[in-house]
Protein backbone atom coordinates (compact mmCIF):
# COMPACT_ATOMS: atom_id res chain seq x y z
CA UNK A 1 0.00 0.00 0.00
CA UNK A 2 1.53 3.25 -1.13
CA UNK A 3 -1.35 5.66 -0.74
CA UNK A 4 -1.39 7.97 2.29
CA UNK A 5 -3.83 10.65 3.35
CA UNK A 6 -2.50 14.17 3.85
CA UNK A 7 -0.89 14.23 7.27
CA UNK A 8 1.37 17.24 7.18
CA UNK A 9 0.28 20.03 9.49
CA UNK A 10 0.38 23.80 9.43
CA UNK A 11 2.60 24.31 12.45
CA UNK A 12 3.92 27.77 11.70
CA UNK A 13 7.35 28.67 10.34
CA UNK A 14 10.03 26.04 10.83
CA UNK A 15 13.05 27.85 12.24
CA UNK A 16 15.36 24.95 13.09
CA UNK A 17 15.75 21.27 12.33
CA UNK A 18 17.61 18.36 13.84
CA UNK A 19 17.60 16.06 10.87
CA UNK A 20 18.76 12.93 12.70
CA UNK A 21 18.40 12.63 16.46
CA UNK A 22 20.78 9.94 17.70
CA UNK A 23 18.92 9.78 21.01
CA UNK A 24 15.62 8.74 19.42
CA UNK A 25 16.16 6.40 16.51
CA UNK A 26 17.38 9.09 14.08
CA UNK A 27 14.01 10.81 13.87
CA UNK A 28 13.86 14.37 12.54
CA UNK A 29 12.76 17.11 14.92
CA UNK A 30 11.62 20.55 13.85
CA UNK A 31 11.28 23.73 15.88
CA UNK A 32 8.26 25.66 14.62
CA UNK A 33 7.44 29.26 15.45
CA UNK A 34 3.92 30.67 15.47
CA UNK A 35 3.18 34.28 16.32
CA UNK A 36 0.15 35.12 18.45
CA UNK A 37 -1.09 38.13 20.44
CA UNK A 38 0.57 36.60 23.52
CA UNK A 39 3.90 36.55 21.72
CA UNK A 40 5.74 34.05 19.58
CA UNK A 41 5.35 30.45 20.68
CA UNK A 42 7.59 27.55 19.70
CA UNK A 43 6.59 23.97 19.06
CA UNK A 44 8.91 20.98 18.85
CA UNK A 45 7.44 18.48 16.41
CA UNK A 46 8.31 15.26 14.68
CA UNK A 47 6.38 13.46 11.99
CA UNK A 48 7.83 10.16 13.12
CA UNK A 49 5.62 7.45 14.54
CA UNK A 50 8.67 5.89 16.19
CA UNK A 51 7.67 4.70 19.70
CA UNK A 52 10.33 6.96 21.26
CA UNK A 53 9.18 10.07 19.41
CA UNK A 54 6.44 11.34 21.75
CA UNK A 55 8.61 10.90 24.84
CA UNK A 56 11.48 12.66 23.09
CA UNK A 57 9.37 15.68 22.16
CA UNK A 58 8.05 15.89 25.71
CA UNK A 59 11.60 15.78 27.11
CA UNK A 60 12.87 18.47 24.75
CA UNK A 61 9.95 20.75 25.50
CA UNK A 62 10.65 20.32 29.22
CA UNK A 63 14.35 20.97 28.56
CA UNK A 64 13.47 24.23 26.83
CA UNK A 65 11.61 25.30 29.95
CA UNK A 66 14.28 24.28 32.46
CA UNK A 67 17.42 25.14 30.50
CA UNK A 68 16.06 28.19 28.70
CA UNK A 69 13.63 29.61 31.22
CA UNK A 70 10.76 29.25 28.76
CA UNK A 71 7.18 28.72 29.92
CA UNK A 72 4.57 26.28 28.67
CA UNK A 73 2.01 27.73 26.28
CA UNK A 74 -1.20 26.34 24.73
CA UNK A 75 -0.81 23.64 22.11
CA UNK A 76 2.28 22.10 23.75
CA UNK A 77 4.26 25.16 22.75
CA UNK A 78 6.69 27.13 24.85
CA UNK A 79 7.43 30.82 24.91
CA UNK A 80 9.65 33.20 26.81
CA UNK A 81 8.05 35.05 29.74
CA UNK A 82 8.92 38.41 28.14
CA UNK A 83 6.67 37.41 25.19
CA UNK A 84 9.51 38.20 22.78
CA UNK A 85 10.69 35.72 20.13
CA UNK A 86 14.45 35.66 20.80
CA UNK A 87 14.54 33.38 17.77
CA UNK A 88 18.30 32.95 17.51
CA UNK A 89 18.49 32.01 21.17
CA UNK A 90 15.47 29.73 20.85
CA UNK A 91 17.13 27.86 17.98
CA UNK A 92 20.32 27.46 19.99
CA UNK A 93 18.29 26.31 23.02
CA UNK A 94 16.61 23.65 20.87
CA UNK A 95 19.92 22.45 19.39
CA UNK A 96 21.60 22.28 22.81
CA UNK A 97 18.65 20.44 24.37
CA UNK A 98 18.69 17.92 21.51
CA UNK A 99 22.24 16.94 22.45
CA UNK A 100 20.95 15.50 25.74
CA UNK A 101 19.66 11.95 25.98
CA UNK A 102 16.02 11.58 26.95
CA UNK A 103 15.70 11.34 30.70
CA UNK A 104 18.89 13.28 31.46
CA UNK A 105 18.60 15.31 34.63
CA UNK A 106 17.64 18.88 33.77
CA UNK A 107 19.07 21.69 35.85
CA UNK A 108 19.48 25.35 34.98
CA UNK A 109 23.14 26.03 34.16
CA UNK A 110 25.23 28.32 36.38
CA UNK A 111 26.20 31.83 35.34
CA UNK A 112 29.87 30.87 35.60
CA UNK A 113 31.93 29.00 33.05
CA UNK A 114 35.48 27.69 33.14
CA UNK A 115 37.57 29.09 30.31
CA UNK A 116 40.10 26.41 29.39
CA UNK A 117 42.07 28.81 27.22
CA UNK A 118 42.92 31.19 30.07
CA UNK A 119 42.45 28.71 32.91
CA UNK A 120 40.09 31.01 34.77
CA UNK A 121 36.41 31.14 35.61
CA UNK A 122 34.30 33.76 33.88
CA UNK A 123 31.12 34.91 35.54
CA UNK A 124 28.14 36.76 34.17
CA UNK A 125 26.73 39.17 36.66
CA UNK A 126 23.07 40.20 36.23
CA UNK A 127 22.63 43.98 36.28
CA UNK A 128 18.84 43.90 36.02
CA UNK A 129 16.51 44.80 33.16
CA UNK A 130 18.06 42.16 30.89
CA UNK A 131 21.63 43.46 31.23
CA UNK A 132 24.63 41.28 32.10
CA UNK A 133 28.27 42.08 32.80
CA UNK A 134 31.04 39.52 32.21
CA UNK A 135 33.60 39.52 35.02
CA UNK A 136 36.66 37.56 36.11
CA UNK A 137 38.79 37.53 39.20
CA UNK A 138 41.95 38.12 37.13
CA UNK A 139 40.65 41.15 35.24
CA UNK A 140 41.37 39.49 31.89
CA UNK A 141 39.40 41.97 29.83
CA UNK A 142 40.12 40.25 26.54
CA UNK A 143 38.44 36.99 27.55
CA UNK A 144 35.52 38.89 29.05
CA UNK A 145 35.10 40.67 25.75
CA UNK A 146 35.21 37.36 23.88
CA UNK A 147 32.46 35.93 26.06
CA UNK A 148 30.32 39.05 25.77
CA UNK A 149 30.71 39.02 22.03
CA UNK A 150 29.75 35.35 21.90
CA UNK A 151 26.58 35.98 23.89
CA UNK A 152 25.77 38.91 21.62
CA UNK A 153 25.93 36.65 18.56
CA UNK A 154 24.22 33.57 19.98
CA UNK A 155 21.30 35.41 21.56
CA UNK A 156 21.15 38.58 19.44
CA UNK A 157 21.89 40.68 22.50
CA UNK A 158 22.88 44.32 22.35
CA UNK A 159 26.50 45.23 23.07
CA UNK A 160 27.72 48.15 25.15
CA UNK A 161 30.59 50.08 23.59
CA UNK A 162 33.89 49.45 25.38
CA UNK A 163 32.40 47.27 28.15
CA UNK A 164 31.83 43.54 28.52
CA UNK A 165 28.14 44.23 29.02
CA UNK A 166 25.34 42.76 26.92
CA UNK A 167 21.60 43.22 27.11
CA UNK A 168 18.47 41.54 25.86
CA UNK A 169 16.50 43.98 23.69
CA UNK A 170 13.29 43.02 25.55
CA UNK A 171 14.69 44.59 28.74
CA UNK A 172 14.00 41.49 30.82
CA UNK A 173 16.27 38.99 32.50
CA UNK A 174 16.86 35.52 31.04
CA UNK A 175 19.29 33.96 33.49
CA UNK A 176 18.67 30.36 32.38
CA UNK A 177 19.22 31.22 28.74
CA UNK A 178 22.45 33.05 29.51
CA UNK A 179 23.69 30.12 31.62
CA UNK A 180 22.94 27.69 28.81
CA UNK A 181 24.74 29.75 26.21
CA UNK A 182 27.89 30.49 28.22
CA UNK A 183 29.99 27.45 27.20
CA UNK A 184 29.12 28.00 23.54
CA UNK A 185 29.73 31.72 23.71
CA UNK A 186 33.37 31.12 24.62
CA UNK A 187 33.92 29.54 21.21
CA UNK A 188 31.22 30.99 19.05
CA UNK A 189 33.15 30.22 15.87
CA UNK A 190 32.92 26.50 16.60
CA UNK A 191 29.18 26.83 17.18
CA UNK A 192 28.72 28.65 13.87
CA UNK A 193 30.94 26.13 12.05
CA UNK A 194 28.76 23.35 13.44
CA UNK A 195 25.69 25.12 12.06
CA UNK A 196 27.31 25.60 8.65
CA UNK A 197 28.30 21.97 8.51
CA UNK A 198 24.72 20.92 9.28
CA UNK A 199 23.44 23.28 6.57
CA UNK A 200 25.68 21.79 3.91
CA UNK A 201 24.38 18.26 4.45
CA UNK A 202 21.51 17.10 2.33
CA UNK A 203 22.23 19.35 -0.64
CA UNK A 204 22.63 17.42 -3.86
CA UNK A 205 25.37 18.75 -6.08
CA UNK A 206 25.90 17.95 -9.73
CA UNK A 207 28.38 15.12 -10.39
CA UNK A 208 30.87 17.70 -11.64
CA UNK A 209 30.86 19.32 -8.19
CA UNK A 210 31.17 16.10 -6.23
CA UNK A 211 34.41 14.58 -4.97
Amino acid sequence: MVHTMAHTLDLGRRVELVSMDPHAGDISLGLYREDSPEGPGYLIHTYSANPEAARRVEFLTRAAEVLGGARGAPGQRFRFPCQTGHQTAARRLFLEAAKLPTGDELQPRPLTVHDRKSGQDLTVEPLGAGRYRVTTSTADEARCAVLANGLRKLAEMDATEGQPVVAFPCGQDHHELVGLLLPRALNVRAALREEESALSRGQLSAPSSQK
Binding site: H3, T8, L17, S28, T46, Y47, G202, A206, S208, Q210
Partner: protein, 341 residues
Protein backbone atom coordinates in the same frame (compact mmCIF):
# COMPACT_ATOMS: atom_id res chain seq x y z
CA UNK B 1 -8.15 18.21 -16.05
CA UNK B 2 -6.57 15.90 -13.51
CA UNK B 3 -2.93 16.18 -12.52
CA UNK B 4 -1.69 13.67 -15.08
CA UNK B 5 -3.57 15.26 -17.94
CA UNK B 6 -2.32 18.69 -16.90
CA UNK B 7 1.34 17.66 -16.78
CA UNK B 8 1.24 15.74 -20.06
CA UNK B 9 -0.54 18.58 -21.82
CA UNK B 10 2.00 21.11 -20.59
CA UNK B 11 4.91 18.89 -21.61
CA UNK B 12 3.39 18.84 -25.08
CA UNK B 13 2.89 22.63 -24.94
CA UNK B 14 -0.88 22.22 -25.21
CA UNK B 15 -3.48 24.32 -23.34
CA UNK B 16 -3.95 23.62 -19.61
CA UNK B 17 -6.55 24.70 -17.05
CA UNK B 18 -3.71 25.92 -14.82
CA UNK B 19 0.05 25.65 -14.82
CA UNK B 20 1.05 22.24 -13.42
CA UNK B 21 3.36 21.95 -10.44
CA UNK B 22 5.95 19.42 -11.43
CA UNK B 23 9.01 17.81 -9.87
CA UNK B 24 11.23 16.25 -12.53
CA UNK B 25 13.74 15.65 -9.72
CA UNK B 26 13.39 14.78 -6.04
CA UNK B 27 11.23 16.62 -3.50
CA UNK B 28 11.99 14.18 -0.69
CA UNK B 29 12.71 15.65 2.75
CA UNK B 30 13.73 14.12 6.07
CA UNK B 31 10.38 15.06 7.60
CA UNK B 32 8.46 13.37 4.78
CA UNK B 33 10.69 10.32 5.29
CA UNK B 34 9.52 10.21 8.92
CA UNK B 35 5.90 10.72 7.95
CA UNK B 36 5.77 7.62 5.76
CA UNK B 37 8.58 5.63 7.42
CA UNK B 38 10.74 5.67 4.31
CA UNK B 39 14.15 7.09 5.23
CA UNK B 40 17.22 7.25 3.03
CA UNK B 41 19.13 5.13 2.22
CA UNK B 42 16.38 2.46 2.32
CA UNK B 43 14.07 4.61 0.22
CA UNK B 44 16.65 4.46 -2.57
CA UNK B 45 16.90 0.67 -2.41
CA UNK B 46 13.48 -0.74 -1.47
CA UNK B 47 10.65 -0.32 -4.00
CA UNK B 48 7.82 -0.04 -1.46
CA UNK B 49 9.60 2.68 0.52
CA UNK B 50 10.72 4.45 -2.64
CA UNK B 51 7.13 4.56 -3.89
CA UNK B 52 5.73 5.63 -0.53
CA UNK B 53 8.15 8.53 -0.13
CA UNK B 54 7.71 9.62 -3.75
CA UNK B 55 3.92 9.66 -3.41
CA UNK B 56 4.11 12.39 -0.77
CA UNK B 57 4.81 14.96 -3.50
CA UNK B 58 1.22 14.41 -4.60
CA UNK B 59 -0.57 13.43 -1.38
CA UNK B 60 1.13 15.85 1.00
CA UNK B 61 2.63 18.67 -1.02
CA UNK B 62 -0.04 18.95 -3.72
CA UNK B 63 2.24 18.60 -6.74
CA UNK B 64 0.84 17.23 -10.01
CA UNK B 65 3.58 14.65 -10.43
CA UNK B 66 5.32 11.83 -8.59
CA UNK B 67 9.00 11.15 -9.23
CA UNK B 68 10.43 8.18 -7.34
CA UNK B 69 14.04 8.24 -8.57
CA UNK B 70 15.46 10.53 -5.89
CA UNK B 71 19.15 9.89 -6.49
CA UNK B 72 21.38 10.08 -9.55
CA UNK B 73 23.25 6.85 -8.88
CA UNK B 74 20.84 3.95 -9.40
CA UNK B 75 22.14 2.88 -12.83
CA UNK B 76 25.76 3.69 -11.91
CA UNK B 77 25.41 1.22 -9.07
CA UNK B 78 24.10 -1.36 -11.55
CA UNK B 79 27.05 -0.64 -13.84
CA UNK B 80 29.45 -1.51 -11.03
CA UNK B 81 30.40 1.86 -9.53
CA UNK B 82 31.13 1.95 -5.82
CA UNK B 83 28.41 3.81 -3.96
CA UNK B 84 28.54 5.70 -0.69
CA UNK B 85 24.95 5.14 0.43
CA UNK B 86 25.11 7.66 3.29
CA UNK B 87 22.41 8.16 5.91
CA UNK B 88 18.90 9.49 6.14
CA UNK B 89 19.98 13.13 5.88
CA UNK B 90 22.43 12.92 3.00
CA UNK B 91 22.53 11.86 -0.64
CA UNK B 92 24.13 8.69 -1.89
CA UNK B 93 27.08 9.40 -4.14
CA UNK B 94 29.33 7.51 -6.52
CA UNK B 95 32.94 7.14 -5.36
CA UNK B 96 34.28 8.82 -8.47
CA UNK B 97 37.86 8.62 -7.23
CA UNK B 98 37.59 4.89 -7.80
CA UNK B 99 36.54 4.83 -11.48
CA UNK B 100 35.52 1.55 -13.03
CA UNK B 101 36.52 2.36 -16.63
CA UNK B 102 39.55 3.98 -18.31
CA UNK B 103 38.89 3.56 -22.03
CA UNK B 104 35.99 2.92 -24.38
CA UNK B 105 37.05 -0.72 -24.55
CA UNK B 106 36.25 -1.10 -20.85
CA UNK B 107 32.64 -0.05 -21.26
CA UNK B 108 30.21 -2.86 -20.80
CA UNK B 109 26.56 -2.57 -19.88
CA UNK B 110 25.88 -5.90 -18.15
CA UNK B 111 23.21 -8.15 -19.65
CA UNK B 112 21.48 -8.22 -16.26
CA UNK B 113 21.71 -4.42 -15.87
CA UNK B 114 17.95 -4.14 -15.43
CA UNK B 115 17.87 -6.98 -12.91
CA UNK B 116 20.30 -5.28 -10.55
CA UNK B 117 18.51 -4.46 -7.26
CA UNK B 118 19.16 -0.72 -7.65
CA UNK B 119 17.65 -0.46 -11.14
CA UNK B 120 14.90 -2.97 -10.43
CA UNK B 121 13.95 -0.95 -7.35
CA UNK B 122 13.04 1.94 -9.65
CA UNK B 123 10.97 -0.08 -12.11
CA UNK B 124 9.15 -1.87 -9.30
CA UNK B 125 8.43 1.43 -7.54
CA UNK B 126 6.98 2.84 -10.77
CA UNK B 127 4.77 -0.25 -11.14
CA UNK B 128 3.53 0.15 -7.56
CA UNK B 129 2.75 3.82 -8.13
CA UNK B 130 0.95 3.17 -11.41
CA UNK B 131 -1.13 0.46 -9.75
CA UNK B 132 -1.97 2.73 -6.81
CA UNK B 133 -2.66 5.99 -8.62
CA UNK B 134 -3.88 4.83 -12.02
CA UNK B 135 -4.16 7.78 -14.35
CA UNK B 136 -4.79 10.54 -11.79
CA UNK B 137 -1.22 11.84 -11.41
CA UNK B 138 1.80 12.00 -13.72
CA UNK B 139 4.48 9.46 -12.83
CA UNK B 140 7.91 10.58 -13.94
CA UNK B 141 10.92 8.26 -14.20
CA UNK B 142 14.56 9.16 -14.59
CA UNK B 143 17.41 7.81 -16.67
CA UNK B 144 20.84 9.37 -16.56
CA UNK B 145 22.44 10.60 -19.77
CA UNK B 146 25.84 9.36 -20.96
CA UNK B 147 27.73 12.53 -20.02
CA UNK B 148 26.69 12.08 -16.37
CA UNK B 149 27.47 8.36 -16.56
CA UNK B 150 30.88 9.32 -17.93
CA UNK B 151 31.60 11.35 -14.81
CA UNK B 152 30.46 8.48 -12.60
CA UNK B 153 32.25 5.66 -14.39
CA UNK B 154 35.46 7.40 -15.54
CA UNK B 155 35.73 10.12 -12.87
CA UNK B 156 35.05 13.79 -13.57
CA UNK B 157 38.60 14.90 -14.32
CA UNK B 158 39.64 11.91 -16.47
CA UNK B 159 36.43 12.17 -18.48
CA UNK B 160 36.83 15.91 -19.10
CA UNK B 161 40.49 15.45 -20.06
CA UNK B 162 39.51 12.68 -22.47
CA UNK B 163 37.00 15.03 -24.09
CA UNK B 164 39.77 17.61 -24.58
CA UNK B 165 42.45 15.21 -25.79
CA UNK B 166 40.52 12.69 -27.82
CA UNK B 167 37.12 13.72 -29.17
CA UNK B 168 36.77 10.54 -31.22
CA UNK B 169 37.32 8.29 -28.22
CA UNK B 170 34.95 10.45 -26.16
CA UNK B 171 32.20 10.09 -28.75
CA UNK B 172 32.75 6.35 -28.79
CA UNK B 173 32.43 6.26 -24.99
CA UNK B 174 29.22 8.28 -25.07
CA UNK B 175 27.81 6.10 -27.80
CA UNK B 176 28.47 2.95 -25.78
CA UNK B 177 27.17 4.39 -22.49
CA UNK B 178 23.98 5.63 -24.13
CA UNK B 179 22.72 2.04 -24.21
CA UNK B 180 22.39 2.17 -20.42
CA UNK B 181 20.34 5.36 -20.74
CA UNK B 182 18.06 3.83 -23.36
CA UNK B 183 17.59 0.47 -21.67
CA UNK B 184 16.81 1.95 -18.26
CA UNK B 185 14.47 4.50 -19.84
CA UNK B 186 12.56 1.89 -21.83
CA UNK B 187 12.22 -0.32 -18.75
CA UNK B 188 10.66 2.57 -16.82
CA UNK B 189 8.27 3.34 -19.66
CA UNK B 190 7.28 -0.31 -19.74
CA UNK B 191 6.73 -0.16 -15.96
CA UNK B 192 4.33 2.76 -16.37
CA UNK B 193 6.28 6.03 -16.43
CA UNK B 194 4.40 8.84 -18.19
CA UNK B 195 7.54 10.86 -18.83
CA UNK B 196 11.26 10.61 -18.14
CA UNK B 197 13.72 13.07 -16.70
CA UNK B 198 17.06 12.76 -18.45
CA UNK B 199 19.82 14.49 -16.48
CA UNK B 200 22.98 14.93 -18.51
CA UNK B 201 25.31 17.15 -16.54
CA UNK B 202 26.86 19.27 -19.26
CA UNK B 203 26.76 22.01 -16.64
CA UNK B 204 27.54 25.61 -17.39
CA UNK B 205 30.54 25.70 -15.04
CA UNK B 206 32.54 22.96 -16.81
CA UNK B 207 31.13 22.46 -20.28
CA UNK B 208 30.62 25.07 -22.99
CA UNK B 209 27.70 25.39 -25.38
CA UNK B 210 30.03 24.27 -28.19
CA UNK B 211 30.77 21.11 -26.24
CA UNK B 212 27.07 20.50 -25.90
CA UNK B 213 26.61 20.88 -29.65
CA UNK B 214 29.64 18.72 -30.46
CA UNK B 215 29.05 15.85 -28.07
CA UNK B 216 25.46 15.77 -26.87
CA UNK B 217 22.97 17.39 -29.24
CA UNK B 218 22.78 14.41 -31.62
CA UNK B 219 22.59 11.94 -28.75
CA UNK B 220 19.75 13.91 -27.20
CA UNK B 221 17.91 13.91 -30.54
CA UNK B 222 18.32 10.14 -30.57
CA UNK B 223 16.94 9.83 -27.01
CA UNK B 224 13.91 11.92 -27.92
CA UNK B 225 13.27 9.62 -30.88
CA UNK B 226 13.84 6.27 -29.17
CA UNK B 227 12.19 6.92 -25.79
CA UNK B 228 8.54 7.30 -26.76
CA UNK B 229 7.34 9.43 -23.84
CA UNK B 230 7.96 13.12 -23.18
CA UNK B 231 11.59 13.57 -22.13
CA UNK B 232 12.57 16.30 -19.68
CA UNK B 233 16.23 17.18 -20.11
CA UNK B 234 17.87 18.36 -16.90
CA UNK B 235 21.12 20.31 -16.81
CA UNK B 236 22.18 22.35 -13.79
CA UNK B 237 23.77 25.78 -13.86
CA UNK B 238 23.80 28.62 -16.32
CA UNK B 239 22.62 27.09 -19.61
CA UNK B 240 21.10 29.93 -21.62
CA UNK B 241 23.95 29.64 -24.13
CA UNK B 242 22.97 26.06 -25.00
CA UNK B 243 19.20 26.43 -24.86
CA UNK B 244 19.02 27.12 -28.64
CA UNK B 245 20.66 23.73 -29.24
CA UNK B 246 18.48 22.00 -26.65
CA UNK B 247 15.41 23.45 -28.32
CA UNK B 248 16.39 21.62 -31.53
CA UNK B 249 16.61 18.16 -29.96
CA UNK B 250 12.94 17.19 -29.87
CA UNK B 251 13.03 16.90 -26.08
CA UNK B 252 9.60 17.78 -24.68
CA UNK B 253 10.94 19.97 -21.90
CA UNK B 254 14.04 21.46 -20.33
CA UNK B 255 14.31 21.51 -16.53
CA UNK B 256 16.23 24.68 -15.96
CA UNK B 257 18.22 26.20 -13.12
CA UNK B 258 17.58 29.47 -11.32
CA UNK B 259 20.90 30.78 -12.65
CA UNK B 260 18.85 31.44 -15.82
CA UNK B 261 16.14 34.08 -15.76
CA UNK B 262 12.65 32.85 -16.69
CA UNK B 263 12.17 35.68 -19.18
CA UNK B 264 15.44 35.20 -21.10
CA UNK B 265 14.91 31.43 -21.10
CA UNK B 266 11.37 31.68 -22.40
CA UNK B 267 12.52 34.06 -25.13
CA UNK B 268 14.70 31.24 -26.46
CA UNK B 269 12.52 28.21 -25.76
CA UNK B 270 8.96 29.44 -26.39
CA UNK B 271 7.14 27.30 -28.98
CA UNK B 272 10.12 24.95 -29.29
CA UNK B 273 10.59 23.20 -25.95
CA UNK B 274 8.63 23.49 -22.70
CA UNK B 275 10.40 24.89 -19.64
CA UNK B 276 10.13 23.39 -16.14
CA UNK B 277 11.48 25.16 -13.12
CA UNK B 278 13.08 27.11 -11.67
CA UNK B 279 12.53 27.84 -7.96
CA UNK B 280 15.93 28.28 -6.38
CA UNK B 281 16.93 25.54 -3.93
CA UNK B 282 19.75 26.70 -1.64
CA UNK B 283 18.81 30.34 -1.21
CA UNK B 284 15.02 30.23 -1.47
CA UNK B 285 13.43 26.85 -0.75
CA UNK B 286 16.03 25.92 1.85
CA UNK B 287 16.89 29.22 3.49
CA UNK B 288 13.96 31.59 3.08
CA UNK B 289 10.24 31.50 3.78
CA UNK B 290 7.02 31.03 1.82
CA UNK B 291 6.91 34.69 0.72
CA UNK B 292 10.18 34.35 -1.21
CA UNK B 293 9.04 31.05 -2.71
CA UNK B 294 5.81 32.67 -3.86
CA UNK B 295 7.68 35.53 -5.50
CA UNK B 296 9.76 33.13 -7.59
CA UNK B 297 6.70 31.10 -8.56
CA UNK B 298 4.95 34.24 -9.73
CA UNK B 299 7.97 35.35 -11.74
CA UNK B 300 7.93 32.03 -13.61
CA UNK B 301 4.19 32.23 -14.19
CA UNK B 302 4.42 35.81 -15.46
CA UNK B 303 7.13 34.72 -17.88
CA UNK B 304 4.89 31.94 -19.23
CA UNK B 305 6.99 29.01 -17.98
CA UNK B 306 5.07 25.82 -18.79
CA UNK B 307 5.51 23.84 -15.58
CA UNK B 308 6.60 25.22 -12.20
CA UNK B 309 8.73 23.40 -9.63
CA UNK B 310 12.08 23.35 -7.86
CA UNK B 311 15.16 23.83 -10.04
CA UNK B 312 16.76 20.53 -9.03
CA UNK B 313 16.56 17.88 -6.29
CA UNK B 314 15.68 19.86 -3.20
CA UNK B 315 17.86 19.79 -0.09
CA UNK B 316 16.66 17.02 2.23
CA UNK B 317 16.22 19.51 5.08
CA UNK B 318 13.84 21.79 3.16
CA UNK B 319 10.81 22.92 5.17
CA UNK B 320 7.50 21.42 4.14
CA UNK B 321 5.71 24.78 4.33
CA UNK B 322 7.97 26.13 1.57
CA UNK B 323 7.17 23.22 -0.72
CA UNK B 324 3.43 23.50 -0.10
CA UNK B 325 3.66 27.16 -0.99
CA UNK B 326 4.48 26.32 -4.64
CA UNK B 327 1.07 24.82 -5.54
CA UNK B 328 -0.68 27.41 -3.35
CA UNK B 329 0.99 30.25 -5.20
CA UNK B 330 0.19 28.72 -8.59
CA UNK B 331 -3.50 28.33 -7.71
CA UNK B 332 -3.72 31.85 -6.26
CA UNK B 333 -2.07 33.36 -9.34
CA UNK B 334 -4.50 31.62 -11.67
CA UNK B 335 -7.48 32.56 -9.47
CA UNK B 336 -6.38 36.19 -9.49
CA UNK B 337 -6.03 36.13 -13.26
CA UNK B 338 -9.48 34.57 -13.64
CA UNK B 339 -10.99 37.30 -11.45
CA UNK B 340 -9.29 40.07 -13.44
CA UNK B 341 -10.43 38.59 -16.74
Amino acid sequence: MNSRQRVLAALNRQPVDRTPVCNPTSVATVELMDLVDAPFPNANREPERMARLAATSYTELGFDSIMPVFSIIQESSALGCKIQWEQKDNWPTVRMREPIWQTADDIRVPDDFLDHPDTRCVTEAIRLLRREYGNEVAIIGKTMGPWSLGYHCFGVEPFLLLSLDNPGQTKLCLDRMKEATIRFGLAQIEAGADALTLPDHATGDLVSAQYYARYLRDLHIEFAERLKVPIILHICGRTVDRMPYIAETGMAAFHYDSKNGPEESMAICRDRVALVGNINNPETLFSKGPEAVRAEVVRNLEAGVNLVGPECAIPLQTAIENLKEIPRAVRDWHNDRARIN
